[in-house]
């Protein structure tokens, strides 16, 4: 809420009317003859050929799925294949004007788009560029099978390469575009500008917005096209993507050459069905999808419905819309009308539509029609078109023969390399900056007001006499985070950060105070209240090669970005065959005192999903060190912070928090207090309550407790913990998460297996109750308290002389709680 935007009540309370402009529907009406001035004969024929290639490719897959045989070649493909037979004109038209710097994102039904965009790129690249691309992809592994015995031009080789690379990927072969790990629904090839497709409906809806953000913020040429379906217009992430993409601030607050809309075309491939649900008439209410534009912003997103059965209509639309984007008036919404003859998937019996309907559309088939028009206009003869069809059948047959050959196109050898996929889950790289160019900042770092202020703060919590400094003089955990983040902003030109209340307010917990002065809008801005698009855009931004810190204000909001955090973020590195990196650091704040929906510790959810690294530092020294490591890496990190601790000082590291740059290894727990009789392992802010318990154990019961701070959850090195257990034989594992299904139990289970012979008692988990988090006044009954540790030791590990428990840690209670589900 920038102060410069003054909300004038006189203006706002005036009476008036909202006016809408007409939205064009299928307005293109030029003939081939009329378009001869814009297209050469070769152009027309190429459009035809591209459509034929797509048709044959999809038909081949359909036959393989339904009859296990295509043109004499037998094969069984058990995996998915969502085919777009009938939609070729829309795909080719969409890709025709796009260059290699223009990126497309797709859906689960995007084979046609991949091929169309690839063919378009091949046409635009010269031989040298093509050879370089093909040679470099996985060191030529995809090229090798098609290159062998190829006679013909480089462009012809490239076409084979494109078809083979896509097909081998569909058939899960190691020689496919993504090593076989993406498959039909996630295949892509970035050198041709084909960015990931998404099996989750609408998945590209917010990811593509992040890519557009990347193009804009890093001043890159090219536009982004999001190919999503009509039924995906029902999805939250798509709407959040639209909201994010059309924020006023782009045109009203961003400055200089940053002022203006995102270079994005949202291309609704409207085949009028969502699996079996009929969007228009049954499951949606917009009647014509282009209407949506009118509800988003005053420009109505320049929305149009375009007849996708006519490739020239689509090309025309793209030419006009590109101009709008280049004038920085984007984004654009295109409703491209099309139809698919094939079912949703090969198992689809099409029980949701009549035979007559399908036949009516087949009668107007775009390839047959376009061919007839070309012949009519004298652009090509029927014989020439037949040759194209025959050549296409040949090339498709050639490609499938190669793609199913186990020797030429092997599947990943998991027997020889059983950890192959495991090794691809994380890139584990160390990269100072994602790009080497000057950083965009408003002043040198030393002049930043907060940086200056931090120089006066005490970097260790206690003075020489052991007395704590005043809060205002103490360097707190938030300062540690700030130092790491500001350092990276001045190092990595691609780094941006955003979330709710990030700019001006400085973040809800004042971590970013001072950054507003240092950075322009395009590097630090406020997002809408849309967690899904906050994370989704970050994913798209990272896919294009930028580093980003999106913020989720409360851990309790994690559910709102569920698909992005659990289905998208952790998977792309491995699914892309490690082509993509994911340098995304999500800052998530865990609350307290704010009740049931603002105080939950959901570390368990993040730790469960393979592909995410999870950290949770609770001291300023650890926070700065781990944030530096997180921002130096190229893997997605869920970075948890506790709202209880933003102003806590450094109590452990001698000399206080270092002023310079340092990294702490992710995955290493840290002994915060040495002891010999019992080990307490904690996750998160619980550390401080465990230290209180340790003090009582020492003073009252003469028991020396060793307290270990987990610091990281994934990865996690158990060895220091096992060494501690060899010393003490006893362990309590604690954190603020509700105990059931928590990471605490994962730790306990692994420790039991790994340290069994050294244990004097089973590991005991002390977590929060499995209830709603109550109000602040009742929190002490919900979250682990120092007394709980002592009670647990007394009841389950080592009876303490003279101790009377106040809470119930008996086995009977444990059985009862589990039986009742609480």
């Amino acid at each position: 809420m920038p102060k410069i935007q003054y909300i004038n009540p006189d203006e706002v309370r005036k009476p008036g009317f909202l006016k809408f402009s007409p939205i064009p529907v299928n307005q293109y009406n030029k003939t081939v003859e009329e378009e001869k001035k814009n297209f050469s004969n070769e152009d027309f024929v190429r459009i035809y050929r591209d459509m034929v290639i797509i048709r044959e490719f999809e038909t081949m897959l359909n036959l393989i799925k339904t009859r296990n045989e295509y043109n004499g070649v037998e094969y069984n493909h058990p995996g998915p294949a969502h085919l777009s037979i009938g939609q070729e004109a829309a795909a080719v038209g969409m890709a025709y004007t796009l260059g290699v710097e223009d990126f497309i994102f797709g859906s689960h039904r995007s084979h046609g788009e991949i091929l169309a965009k690839g063919l378009s790129a091949i046409d635009k690249l010269n031989d040298k560029q093509l050879i370089e691309i093909m040679d470099n992809h996985f060191d030529g592994i995809t090229l090798a099978p098609v290159k062998a015995g190829h006679t013909g031009t480089t462009k012809e080789l490239a076409v084979k390469f494109l078809i083979y690379g896509t097909l081998a990927e569909v058939f899960a072969r190691e020689t496919g575009f993504n090593k076989g790990l993406g498959g039909s629904m996630h295949a892509f090839f970035t050198p041709f500008g084909v960015y990931p497709n998404n099996a989750i409906v609408g998945g590209s809806g917010d990811i593509s917005v992040g890519a557009a953000l990347y193009k804009k913020v890093n001043r890159k040429k090219g536009i982004i096209v999001a190919n999503i379906g009509d039924a995906s217009m029902a999805c939250g992430p798509v709407w959040e993507g639209l909201t994010f993409a059309t924020m006023d601030q782009f045109t009203e607050l961003w400055e200089g050459d940053m002022k203006g809309g995102l270079p994005l075309i949202v291309n609704i491939m409207n085949n009028q069905y969502g699996m079996g649900g009929q969007t228009c008439g049954e499951t949606m209410g917009y009647d014509i999808a282009a209407r949506i534009g009118a509800g988003i912003n005053a420009d109505q997103m320049h929305a149009e419905r375009v007849d996708g059965y006519n490739p020239l209509a689509v090309i025309d639309a793209y030419k006009r819309k590109r101009k709008i984007i280049e004038e920085k008036r984007g984004p654009v919404l295109l409703d491209v009308l099309t139809y698919r003859y094939s079912g949703h998937s090969p198992s689809d019996a099409s029980s949701y539509r009549s035979k007559e309907e399908v036949e009516a559309w087949e009668k107007q088939d775009s390839i047959i029609w376009f061919g007839k028009e070309l012949v009519k206009a004298g652009v090509a003869t029927e014989a020439e078109l037949e040759v194209i069809k025959a050549e296409t059948t040949e090339i498709i047959t050639f490609s499938i023969k190669l793609a199913i050959d186990d020797e030429v196109s092997p599947i990943m050898d998991m027997k020889k390399h059983p950890n192959l996929i495991g090794d691809m889950m994380f890139s584990n790289q160390s990269v100072d900056k994602m790009e080497d160019r000057p950083v965009e900042v408003n002043h040198p770092m030393e002049e930043n007001p907060r940086v200056k202020q931090l120089k006066t703060k005490e970097r260790f919590m206690f003075n020489e006499n052991g007395k704590p400094f005043s809060k205002i003089k103490t360097y707190g955990l938030r300062d540690g985070l700030f130092e790491a983040i500001v350092d990276r902003f001045y190092k990595d030109p691609t780094l941006i950060a955003y979330g709710e209340e990030n700019r001006d307010w400085g973040g809800a917990f004042a971590v970013y105070r001072g950054l507003t002065e240092a950075l322009p809008y395009n590097r630090l801005f406020n997002s809408p209240i849309s967690e899904a698009s906050i994370i989704g855009t970050a994913i798209g931004y990272a896919m294009c090669g930028g580093r980003v810190i999106p913020e989720i204000m409360y851990a309790d909001f994690l559910g709102r970005a569920g698909d992005e955090v659990f289905n998208q973020l952790p998977k792309w590195q491995a699914m892309s065959g490690n082509v993509l990196k994911m340098p995304v650091v999500i800052r998530i704040s865990i609350g307290s005192k704010y009740g049931a929906q603002h105080s939950q510790d959901w570390t368990a959810l993040a730790a469960h999903i393979p592909g995410l690294k999870v950290v949770f530092p609770v001291t300023p020294y650890d926070a700065k060190g781990l944030m530096n490591s997180a921002l130096q890496g190229t893997d997605p990190i869920i970075f948890f912070e506790s709202q209880r601790l933003y102003d806590i000082g450094e109590q452990f590291h001698k000399g206080g928090v270092p002023e310079g740059y340092y990294e702490l290894p992710i995955g290493e727990p840290d002994v915060k207090r040495e002891g010999s009789d019992v080990t307490i392992l904690t996750i998160g802010a619980t550390l401080y309550r465990a230290l209180d318990a340790a003090k009582t154990l020492e003073e009252k019961y003469n028991l020396s407790a060793e307290v270990i701070d987990a610091r990281s959850l994934v990865p996690f090195n158990y060895e220091p913990v096992i060494e501690s257990i060899k010393k003490t034989g006893r362990i309590i594992i604690s954190g603020d998460a509700s105990a059931r299904g928590s990471f605490l139990r994962d730790l306990a289970s692994n420790i039991t297996e790994l340290a069994f012979d050294y244990l004097d008692a089973p590991p005991v988990v002390v977590g929060s109750r499995n209830w709603i988090t109550p109000a602040h006044e009742l929190e002490d009954y919900f979250f682990p308290q120092p007394e709980w540790f002592i009670d647990a030791i007394h009841e389950r590990i080592l009876p303490l002389e003279g101790h009377v428990s106040t809470s119930d840690f008996s086995e009977a209670e444990q059985l009862d709680r589990n039986a009742r589900g609480i």
């Binding site: 034989g729 004097d760 008692a761 590990i797």
Partner: protein, 421 residues
């Protein structure tokens, strides 16, 4: 202030004693240190001294009564002081067998009662404690755990180890009781006979011997072993002991015991207790030695004899024999269950062969006989006399078969004939 006089508790397992004889009568003056009465346990008899000066105000039991330990038997005080409140017979209808309180401090046990005593009682013990017990040679069978559910935890092993150390360090100090031969009571006199009462200890030995023969299938195998090597060693030892280079006078019996222990390690099935439906196999050898004393036969055990060197074992055997004869022996060591195998040596008396009786619940007992020169073929056709020591092994056929027993006996012979230190 009158003070009670208690029946003392000698040894952890003793639950009651027989009151022997009163040396003072009610009303008599007593000085500190005077002997008030005598009493007997299973294995030994003792005398109780007065702890203070005073008058013996009352006695609550008569000679021959069985009195539970730590119960008041008399009152000492000044004339006229009351003593009724000390009378245990008012509180007890009969001399009850009170459970002996445990000598060690009672560890705190958290009662859960999830399981009751099942026939196959599982020992609840943490992995760490089990490892520690093995390393420190602590017997977990008799330990009570202080962890949750009565689990034996590391702390219990540490405590037990300290207790065992104590007993090892001060084996003799626990007991300083003088034993005295009982004057026998004459019950009836006739012209040519006297009927005498049987001392308690005799009763106990009689019962034990009878029970042993009734409740087992005992038989004895005899063998003799070439004793030349052993006698040579003995000669050497004698010389070194006289010179002063050897501190311990190792006897033939010591050497035989040493050989027996070596044989037991090879035949663990002999180092057992037989319990009818199960057998207890010991990991250590606790060697019992039959000792003839004034008051009767005693068989004290040397614990963990397999850990001892020949001189160490000789010393221990000497110790327990001496203590038994003087009445200083730790009563716990006299329990037949304290030993895993017994050796009884009648060689000094010239016995050539005999059938020793097993000390139940042990599985076997070796009788050692005198050394006799026997003819042996030294080389083809040439005979000489070779000193052979007789070995009589009685074993319980319920636990062992003849073949096994014979092989064991042959192993003892083998060890003796090839003895080296």
């Amino acid at each position: 202030m009158a003070i009670p006089v208690l029946m003392p508790r000698q040894g952890q397992s003793v639950e009651s004693c027989i009151l022997g004889q009163w040396y003072k009568s009610v009303g008599e003056e007593v000085s500190e240190g005077d002997i008030l009465f005598s009493y007997e346990t299973d294995k030994a008899s003792f005398e109780e001294e007065a702890k203070e000066d005073g008058i013996l105000l009352a006695t609550f039991f008569e000679e021959g009564d069985e009195v539970p330990v730590l119960v008041n038997v008399a009152v000492l005080g000044n004339k006229g002081e009351s003593f009724d409140e000390f009378n245990p017979n008012v509180a007890l209808k009969e001399p009850a067998n009170t459970k002996p309180a445990e000598a060690e401090e009672k560890p705190k046990v958290v009662e859960f009662d999830v399981e009751d005593d099942s026939p196959n009682k599982r020992i609840r013990i943490s992995p760490l404690a089990r490892k520690m017990a093995e390393k420190l040679k602590v017997n977990i069978q008799s330990l009570k755990g202080s962890g949750p559910h009565g689990r034996i935890i590391a702390r219990d092993i540490e405590t037990a180890e300290k207790g065992v150390e104590k007993t090892i360090q001060q084996p003799v100090e626990t007991q300083t009781i003088k034993t005295v031969s009982q004057p026998t009571t004459i019950l009836e006199s006739g012209d040519d006979y006297e009927i005498k009462a049987i001392p308690n200890i005799r009763k106990l030995i009689a019962n034990a011997m009878f029970q042993s023969l009734q409740n087992s299938a005992q038989l004895t195998h005899h063998m003799s072993a070439d004793a030349r090597k052993m006698m040579k060693l003995r000669k050497k030892i004698k010389k070194e002991f006289a010179d002063g280079t050897l501190s311990q006078n190792v006897t033939i019996n010591d050497l035989v015991c040493f050989a027996v222990i070596r044989a037991l390690k090879k035949f663990p099935q002999v180092n057992t207790h037989y319990h009818g439906d199960k057998m207890k196999w010991f990991k250590k050898v606790h060697l019992g030695l039959a000792v003839d004393t004034e008051r009767g036969l005693m068989v004290p055990a040397v614990k963990n004899a397999d850990d001892l060197s020949i001189t160490g074992m000789s010393y221990q055997l000497q110790q327990v024999a001496t203590q038994s004869k003087s009445g200083n022996i730790n009563p716990d060591l006299l329990n037949p269950a304290a030993a895993t195998f017994t050796v009884s040596n009648l060689g000094n008396y010239g016995v050539e062969m005999f059938t020793p009786v097993i000390n139940l619940p042990q599985t076997a007992i070796l009788g050692v006989c005198t050394i006799i020169p026997r003819p042996k073929e030294i080389e083809e056709g040439v005979y000489g006399f070779v000193p052979m020591i007789g070995l009589s092994l009685t074993y319980n056929h319920q636990a062992l078969d003849g073949g096994e027993a014979t092989l064991f006996l042959a192993e003892i012979k083998n060890q003796i004939e090839n003895l080296s230190l």
